[in-house]
Symmetry: C2
Subunit: 407 residues, 2 copies
């Protein structure tokens, strides 16, 4: 008998039929003998509706009231799923963040969980009761409802699993697991059986929406095994586990890409100490997240700095750089949105040589020019023209032997 | 400077435009110098939607989960109105039932308020802050959300006004006040300037949806002056006050009617002690609310009993009476849904003679046959064929001098 936390996202709870299907799934796991706690998102679309009302009521809104309004969505689904379980003969009750409580800091709209009181939940789970916990929400230090930020229900689920000492946290969503590449781009993409926390973190950072970054960090920190699986299928998903739990590690686990990139080149800046800080300092102050950075070889005392930001931050970045022009002399700015970041990810590259070389060779063979390169311990990313997105991803998928050759 | 509790119903908060209009109204009262606390319903339609989901999830639903789901509607409007007030420069915050707390008993779905902690609210009101309180909800003895039953936001508002020691509770709704008769039936109906709690109670019992019965009872008990007014107009509404506050009392304040009546006649029952109890006992056990009752003069040891129930209870009443036929011998049952109850109401009838006679004469003059009569201290009701509804109401309105003769 294991204690499993199930998390269901908004698509899985979008209407009464789907809530009933989720109740069937929870009951099946419960009847099989496991102890189950469930964490739910709001119905798909509900949070967007609530947030749009908040914005309409007050463009510069009080985050405490935002949280009060936004948390209503999960309150509704928690009650409805508890009812659907009761209707199937499963003893269940809903738990709101303030009732457990799930203590958070006072960072309204992006609160962090500080502790979860589990005594009563564990007592009830031990009596074969299923708690249905409203995700995304907690109780702040001054007795007000807090929310954890978009996608926060993943974090709620992992934090609850950690606090309960659960054996696993199953994240049920609308995809069947984590794939070696986006199946819409690479027909030969395979669902991974296992992936490490570190790889999952890199994937989440690259925009894979399958899991929230904070949830993966928390799972890694507390060593909570995760499973990402479809709530619409009965097949096993992808298990996100510690590196030690993967016996034979592939060099590369997957290929990711992100179109949400914009490249900025600051041309003709003085090549002297402190110039990078004087450019990136104001950007950081402006909450711009700078990703890849390269600096060209200096020529005649000036150099070019190239870096990437998200497309949403591009205009603001340009504005900030133009404001700081008096402090940082440069010739001109060149911006380019026609780029894509393609990454190969795998903890195996720590122990396998030649991973980068395989990448460069595969791209060169297709005539794809690499504009920027950045590497981390388990990831190599290149920036290329977005015209080559699909070609680059497919070529790399094949080059690393990831193509599915089963029928 | 007065402390006024404003209550806004779902029609007044149906969308963002209306919520903004309510915020304008609250701000105007606040800027005029009054201290204001606001109690809000859910957006029109929200509670119906939530309740329909609850019923779909579990036909025999756990009232505790019903309350958790249903209370979300007022949570949303409380947050949105607080935001809209803040946007207008008014310091405001939302308060949920569990945050104040509004303590209730454990009667989920129909809980009764037992106490409201007002220290913090009063402290903030004294600092010129406007509390926006989610109506309809409270905190039960075991830490779960309770709701007060449909229309419970009126009760929340009056209870809050009583607990705060407010000078008045203004119920803003979609009608301009309490009228001498339904304006859709009687073109000459007038809006009453004042009405007593007792009269308002009788009107609410007769199905006037303008105020919840429990709210009126509570206002009467705690002597909270009420005003019923339109949230869409700037004219004064109807003040609901103590009898002593009305200097010159009309004999009759208004004419009401209810089509939701069904007449049952039990024919040929033995005319002996205990027979009424043996008929009405099982009906009471079956939760049937019996209203008007008459017993004919006995002939040859048997008699006929006639009484009225709501139309919704008719089929169940017949079924109960047929089940008890072995215990209560009778010849046959006759049911009639084609009836209407017409009532004249006025605390003035206590001190004025001839009120009933005026009624009977007015109906007789129009050839309207009275089937059943019942009276209370401040009300006379008659059951007539529903074909005569409008004629009866208009005739009585004129007979008691209620017609509006102003241009």
């Amino acid at each position: 008998m294991a204690l499993i936390v199930h998390k269901y996202g908004g698509t899985s709870l979008a209407d009464l039929d789907r809530i009933n299907a989720v109740a069937d799934r929870v009951k099946a796991a419960f009847d099989a003998g496991d102890e189950i706690a469930v964490v739910v998102s709001a119905m798909a679309g509900t949070t967007d509706q609530l947030v749009s009302w908040v914005r309409a009521a007050a463009p510069l809104h009080d985050a405490r009231e935002y949280d009060t309004v936004a948390a209503a969505g999960e309150q509704i689904t928690a009650g409805l799923l508890a009812l659907a379980l009761q209707h199937r003969g499963v003893t269940a009750r809903s738990w709101l963040g303030w009732q457990i409580p799930i203590h958070t800091d006072g960072g309204h709209g992006r609160a962090r969980i500080e502790g979860i009181e589990t005594d009563e939940l564990l007592r009830r789970i031990g009596r074969r009761e299923v708690p249905v916990v409203a995700g995304f929400q907690g109780l702040g230090p001054l007795g007000r409802i807090t929310t954890l930020g978009r996608g926060g229900t993943d974090t709620s689920a992992v934090a609850l699993a950690a606090a309960l000492g659960a054996d696993r946290c199953d994240i049920f969503t609308d995809v069947e697991g984590v794939f070696t590449a986006d199946p819409r781009v690479v027909a030969a993409a395979r669902k991974l059986t296992k992936i490490t926390y570190e790889e999952m973190l890199e994937l989440a950072s690259l925009g894979a929406k399958v899991l929230q970054i904070r949830a993966v960090e928390m799972a890694m920190k507390h060593q909570v095994p995760l499973q990402v699986a479809s709530s619409f299928a009965d097949t096993p998903g992808t298990f996100v586990v510690d590196e030690d739990d993967i016996v034979e590690q592939e060099r590369v686990s997957g290929i990711a890409y992100s179109r949400d990139e914009a490249k900025i080149t600051v041309m003709g800046v003085a090549d002297r100490p402190g110039v990078a800080a004087s450019i990136f300092g104001p950007l950081a102050d402006g909450n711009v997240n700078v990703d890849m950075i390269v600096q060209n070889i200096s020529a005649d005392g000036t150099t070019d700095l190239t870096f990437t930001v998200t497309e949403a931050d591009l205009d603001r970045s340009i504005a900030i750089l133009e404001e700081t022009r008096s402090a940082v002399a440069y010739d001109r700015l060149v911006a380019d949105q026609g780029v894509v970041k393609v990454s190969v990810i795998g903890v195996g590259m720590r122990s396998h040589a030649g991973v980068a070389q395989t990448m460069f060779a595969a791209l060169a063979e297709k005539g794809i020019n690499i504009q920027v390169i950045s590497t981390s311990e388990i990831k190599i990313s290149v920036l290329v023209s977005e015209d080559y997105t699909e070609l680059a991803v497919r070529s790399l998928h094949a080059a690393y032997g990831l193509d599915d050759h089963e029928p």
